[in-house]
Assembly symmetry: C2
């Protein structure tokens, strides 16, 4: 699988703490290698690092004082997920054809204009308001099918079951 | 498209306000007709009803004092989304073959045992911890492909664009 990273824009620590945590955990579970947060938030970083510590994988989370610089200095293909963008199903083949590693940008409520301008693709998962978590999951699933089935090497792992909750702890 | 509904279990108003709002908006945007919340939360209901008022569609949100009764008295096929379940890709054809309308159950951190017992399918979108918002989006997308492209009849609608934010207001 290609490398992909996520840049989370406009994170407001009090309001967005749990949504940003879900964005980060979705990024990890669907195969991203890193997420950048536009504002420092030690609680989000701690929650995500605890999951990595228990469940494994090679995923990093860091805050950046300058998200615009992260985007403008990145040599990855920039795909901004926004309800205002073009329908993903009209663009997914083009994105795959580019054959490049991807930096996804996901915003909180309203992103600054530079995000639209710097992005190679402004892409919508439908044009209704819903969730950056849902948008990231669908976009990653379309670009990296079944990546959520990746096995990690963690101390903890789930034993899939039709009927109950079961985990293996190899620590 | 079949009817589907969502039951949100274990909603804790302070902690889960925004995640539950994202679950509800994802349910609406991906084609569900209704969401039940396991605990009353007027702020979540207000946020979701404002979106329905502006963007249209026929989606309702209500709280229920007894989520177990909603599930046990439902005649819909019950699909519980959980990281402990069986991989969705091994079950999606079976679920489609059932040809029934679906009640999705999505929990907060830990759901009571009755959810596993009452559900017809306990299904995982990968077995890593991530997000009930991501899980619902992927499950709905697999069962109702492209349902997120449904057009609503709202006063507000987005004009999809490769470069900028644009809305039509027909109110």
């Amino acid at each position: 699988m290609s490398i992909c990273e996520v840049l989370r824009i406009g994170h407001r620590p009090e309001r967005d703490k749990r949504i940003t945590t879900h964005v980060a955990l979705t990024a990890r579970a669907f195969g991203a290698s890193r997420i950048y947060l536009s504002n420092p938030d030690s609680r989000v970083i701690k929650s995500v690092e605890e999951v990595v510590d228990k469940f494994g994988g090679d995923f990093s989370i860091e805050s950046t004082p300058n998200p615009k610089k992260v985007a403008s200095s990145s040599n990855l293909l920039i795909v901004h997920l926004t309800m205002f963008g073009l329908p993903i199903d009209t663009k997914v083949e083009d994105i795959i054809t580019e054959g490049r590693d991807i930096l996804f940008i996901v915003g909180a409520e309203k992103v600054p204009a530079w995000v639209f301008e710097l992005s190679d693709y402004n892409i919508a998962i439908g044009n209704q308001p819903h969730s950056e978590v849902a948008a990231l999951a669908i976009a990653m699933n379309k670009l990296y099918p079944n990546s959520y089935n990746t096995e990690f090497d963690g101390k903890l792992s789930v034993i899939p079951s039709a009927t109950h909750r079961e985990m293996k702890d190899s620590s």
